[in-house]
């Protein structure tokens, strides 16, 4: 039934259903969950980056007040099955095999050595201090270069080297010919530094193993309960149906909290061993040190360009510092490879990649994990412009693919529907660039340095069908007794506002008020399997909500036609009631419809009276999100401090479900991107000591550092006949570092500075300009 719905909620800034609860402190996070008889876990963590564990003496700790148990590595291994955990379990990355708690070696500062369970977390920490560990220190492998040095010690003996993946080389198009045709080749080595997700809520879990039934219930901060249950079932060796994984409010994640994590498996084993519910809440110190870090990559790039400014082809070589344990770091290069041409007309690419292990925290997914491609490409475009003496905007205009070109990336990805070019034009329509250049000139004469930078990106949100299946988003929907629409989603919201956005879509397509929809999630016993991640849920869950709601609506209309003795075509649902066209008096509320179905004989036998639907949405045509960011900055060349004067985002995420939520997602991502450039760095010293383990060292941006961020939405380009919502979770973070660095380089242009790194704290700015000597 192709019927245009009245869109009452979709597209409007409906207030978040989550807010009253969360903003009044009534949210339920993991630490709010308690069980009778619950005890608390603390881990003994390695103070050394790389060492053999000679002995672990737990006797004093076991005798400490309130202690129930202390587990060493070998003791823990005896309680569990081997195998992956966390994101590695999703991607089935295993080996190199390793134990849950150290048996032979520790591989990073913060590595797990022993687990203490006690009556309170205080007592557990007191006892943890009494565990005596003897280490035999090994030299730490702290950089990718060291990891690649055959003389360096091996982090995993089984691996035979410190290379986790690669070297892998792939070429697309005729690279040699394109480089031969070029007037010149622009080369640069560009790096992204290690920084990290830092959600407000750290990781944590409460696990309750019931000896009576052999069932286990886990509450944890995660992005999808199904994978948590799968990992626990595999690692504990108990049937999947005996594991119930749950989550309520999750205070952010940005890619970190996927599957049951190492610590969570360990406390689950302890809960089974002790027959007591065990809680572990990661503290901030543990979190910053060992929860996982992101984005330490170095890219050597060469661009084949013509003197007119055409970028013909690229050679990219990437080395990823994947940290100590296998995870995303071993395979993120595949996504980077596929995405690196972005929205540009690039005819040839050679891409080589290597991932190495080092004695640092494990590489985890962080909002746009493949963002290295956008950073390096958008920096490179500016570098090409400088080398050719042209305006970076002109280079972008020349090289961006237009929608009507109907191209695909040289790596094979369809560019259907992209609006990168339009977004650039829209930015330029909103910034008076000649006026800025004049102001910049005047300021320079006064010793003040202003800079203007743009960066353009696209993100697969979820991507286009032309490149393969987009997934299968399951959803269940039913009408409750009171007429409320119950929506069982596979999403696990952790800041995405699904309780609001999905309800908006369902309300419109079902014909009920916003309040008449309940979004239910976070319980592996009832939620369809799935995961929230990768800027996918607007299309996938939004599309599932739209299509499933229409199926349920049709079912309701089928039965209502009988109940109301009216032609189905004359019926519609509005504001929670079934209305008959032209006969306002003959309406039935949805609650009345459900009630009528309970009365025997009201309907013919052959009518399906179960007002419940299960549906799988395949993503339809899919599509890209994308846009252009623009930053105007002022760099104080006496202090090196950067102030962001203006920040403008023009973006396209298709049809916007809730503009306030979309803007919030973008602004949050922009703040993280600004943080990455100006403040945030996960730093180690040469011996492997972690230097950023408190918020005095790992600096997050606050409202004082973040300017007001203007967001403009482009008119959506429909690709799919039905669903044109596209994801917006990652774009802010993907594009911002390049826009800010481009603006800073523009500000420093009088000094001939080239910005080849993403992190630009004030001291580094002054080093680049030559005001101070590098250390």
């Amino acid at each position: 039934m192709a019927q245009v719905m009245a869109q009452r909620f979709t597209g409007t800034p409906v207030k978040r259903a989550e807010d009253p609860r969360i903003l009044t402190g009534r949210g339920r996070y993991v630490d709010d969950v308690t069980f009778p008889g619950m005890v608390h876990a603390a881990f003994v963590r390695s103070p050394l980056a790389h060492a053999r564990v000679v002995s672990v003496d737990t006797s004093a700790a076991k005798a400490a007040p309130g202690v129930l148990a202390v587990y060493t590595g070998p003791e823990m291994e005896a309680l569990i099955e081997p195998g992956p955990y966390g994101m590695a379990a999703m991607m089935n990355i295993w080996p190199p095999a390793h134990s849950l708690l150290a048996t032979d070696k520790v591989r990073l500062v913060g590595d797990l050595v022993a687990l203490v369970v006690a009556e309170t977390r205080y007592l557990a920490e007191d006892a943890a201090e009494l565990v005596e560990v003897e280490y035999d220190p090994l030299p730490a492998v702290m950089t990718a270069a060291q990891a690649l040095d055959p003389e360096s010690p091996l982090i995993f003996e089984d691996l035979g080297s410190n290379v986790l993946a690669g070297p892998k080389v792939t070429t697309y198009g005729d690279v040699d010919r394109v480089f031969a045709r070029a007037d010149r080749v622009v080369r640069a080595t560009i790096s992204q530094h290690r920084h990290q997700n830092v959600p407000m809520e750290t990781r944590g879990a409460v696990v309750d193993y019931r000896k009576d039934s052999g069932e286990v219930e886990i509450w944890s901060a995660n992005q999808g309960v199904a994978l948590v249950a799968t990992v626990l079932s595999a690692r504990l060796g108990i049937p999947r149906e005996k594991v119930r994984a749950r989550a309520a409010d999750v205070g952010g994640s940005f890619g970190l909290k996927i599957g049951a994590q190492r610590e969570e498996v360990a406390i689950a084993a302890a809960s089974r061993d002790l027959g007591r519910p065990v809680k572990w809440i990661e503290d901030r110190h543990e979190h910053l040190m060992a929860a996982g870090h992101a984005r330490e990559e170095t890219l050597e790039v060469e661009a084949a360009v013509t003197n007119d400014g055409d970028i013909l082809g690229l050679k990219v070589g990437i080395v990823v510092d994947a940290g100590a344990y296998p995870g995303l770091g071993g395979m993120v290069t595949n996504i980077i490879e596929g995405m690196v041409p972005g929205p540009y007309k690039i005819d040839a690419l050679s891409f080589s990649s290597t991932s190495v292990v080092t004695n640092k925290a494990t590489y985890v997914a962080y909002r746009g994990p493949w963002a290295a491609e956008t950073f390096v490409r958008e920096r490179l475009v500016d570098l090409v412009a400088r080398e050719l003496g042209k305006d970076p905007l002109e280079i972008r205009r020349r090289n961006l693919a237009r929608r009507e070109d109907n191209r695909q990336m040289v790596t094979g990805r369809s560019l259907a529907g992209i609006t990168a070019y339009e977004s650039l034009e829209e930015v330029l329509g909103r910034i008076d660039l000649p006026a800025f250049r004049a102001r910049q000139e005047t300021a320079r004469n006064e010793g003040r340095y202003l800079g203007f930078g743009v960066a353009t990106y696209i993100e697969p949100a979820p991507g286009t069908r032309a490149n393969g299946p987009l997934g299968a988003e399951q959803m269940r929907m039913e009408l409750a007794e009171d007429g409320t629409v119950l929506v069982y989603t596979a999403q696990m919201p952790h800041g995405q506002s699904h309780e609001t956005t999905l309800a908006q879509v369902v309300a419109d397509n079902m014909g009920v008020p916003f309040e008449g929809v309940r979004i239910l999630y976070g319980d592996s016993a009832v939620s369809p399997p799935g995961l929230t991640g990768g800027s996918r849920s607007a299309t996938m869950a939004g599309g599932a909500a739209l299509t499933t709601a229409r199926l349920l609506r049709d079912k309701v209309l089928d039965v209502a036609a009988h109940l109301l003795e009216a032609s189905r075509d004359d019926l519609r649902i509005e504001n929670g009631s079934v209305l008959v066209a032209g006969v306002p008096a003959r309406a039935m509320t949805l609650a009345e419809v459900v009630g009528a179905l309970r009365q025997p004989g009201r309907l013919p036998e052959d009518v399906d009276t179960e007002l419940k639907v299960e549906n799988v949405y395949d993503g339809g045509t899919g599509g890209w999100s994308g846009g252009t960011h623009c930053a105007i900055v002022e760099v104080d060349l006496e202090t090196g401090l950067v102030r962001i004067e203006r920040y403008l985002v023009v973006e396209d995420c298709g049809e916007v479900i809730n503009p306030a939520i979309v803007d919030g997602q973008i602004r949050g991502g922009v703040a993280q991107g600004i943080g990455a450039v100006l403040l945030e760095r996960s730093a180690y010293d040469a011996e492997g000591n972690y230097l950023s383990s408190t918020f005095m060292d790992y600096l997050l941006p606050t409202s004082m550092e973040i300017p007001s961020i203007e967001v403009v939405h482009l008119e959506p380009v429909p690709l799919d006949p039905v669903v044109n919502f596209r994801g917006v979770g990652e774009g802010g973070m993907i594009c911002t570092p390049a826009a800010v660095c481009n603006a800073i380089e523009d500000a420093l242009a009088p000094f001939g500075v080239r910005v080849l790194e993403q992190h630009l704290p004030p001291a580094r700015i002054l080093e680049l300009v030559g005001v101070i000597e590098p250390e």
Partner: protein, 291 residues
């Protein structure tokens, strides 16, 4: 990040407090606003076995102007000092530095005495105390009261002249004089962070010449640092950009500041020069004499 075990006392008089310190000495720590001490306890970097809370002790929260000076009780919160009219009128340097300490929520709890006794070399108040040549009044059960000049109070990283059995009772700060301009300049990574470098300046100008100057730096050494050479260079000079630049260069000369994630030693040395110059210019502008 849970506090290690300790015994907790909440005395209500200074006498009781001093008796507790006398009994427990080295093993004990005083708790004021807790803004520095509690994080150290949570990280288990400090592990006193006895904590003596000053929060209920009477007679430590006075703030009054006296003869040519202002007296501030150790337990006066940073926020109260910041908002005090007496401070605003008589201690413009302190008034200017106060809002630079952390955030309002921290200043609501953090105390003037706590900041001085904690002696973080990057902190604002110790630098102000040194620049103003303040006096610290300490008291112990056995030796009674004594007065310690700021110059000899700060002895090293988080180390002061206070003995383990002493309580810092109050600060005495010389009130502002006429024809004196002051300024506090700092550079921090973010609003509310400890300064990478801070510069406190007191400048007296008489008949168009600099009669006296005092310069103290934060964040460049293990204590707040007076810069006598730079001060001498200014005395008797006219208020000119060159004089200020030379003094700023002198103030930064021979510094060996720490290097950390927030800035290298070279960077801090550079900042010291920039901030001293900026502070001198602003202090002069306050007197209506622009270089």
């Amino acid at each position: 990040m849970k506090l290690p075990p300790f015994a907790y006392f909440a005395p209500s008089t200074l006498e009781e407090t001093l008796a507790l310190l006398r009994e427990h000495g080295d093993e004990s720590k005083l708790l004021a606003g807790g803004q520095s001490l509690v994080p150290l306890l949570a990280l288990r970097l400090a592990r006193p076995s006895v904590l003596v809370d000053l929060g209920h002790v009477a007679g430590l929260d006075h703030l009054a102007a006296g003869e040519g000076s202002v007296t501030i009780g150790a337990m006066v919160t940073e926020r109260r000092a910041e908002r005090s009219e007496v401070v605003g009128a008589q201690l413009p340097l302190l008034a200017e530095a106060m809002p630079l300490i952390g955030h309002q929520a921290i200043r609501n709890r953090g105390t003037v005495g706590g900041s001085i006794a904690h002696a973080d070399p990057s902190a604002e108040l110790p630098a102000v105390a040194v620049a103003l040549e303040a006096e610290m009044v300490a008291e112990s059960a056995q030796r009674g009261r004594r007065t310690i000049p700021a110059e000899s109070f700060f002895q090293g990283f988080f180390t002061t002249a206070l003995e383990p059995d002493e309580v810092l009772v109050e600060l005495r700060l010389p009130a502002g004089e006429s024809r004196t301009g002051v300024a506090f300049e700092e550079a921090a990574r973010r609003h509310g962070d400890f300064a990478m470098v801070g510069a406190a300046v007191v400048l007296r100008v008489e008949s168009d010449r600099i009669a006296d100057a005092r310069i103290a730096l934060a964040g460049v050494a293990d204590t707040p640092l007076r810069r006598p050479e730079a001060e001498r260079a200014l005395r008797g000079e006219e208020v000119t950009a060159e004089a200020f630049e030379d003094a700023a260069t002198a103030a930064a000369r021979d510094l060996s500041p720490p290097s950390d994630l927030h800035g290298t030693a070279a960077y801090r040395r550079h900042l010291a020069r920039v901030l001293v110059r900026r502070a001198l210019v602003r202090a002069a502008q306050r007197l209506g004499v622009s270089p």
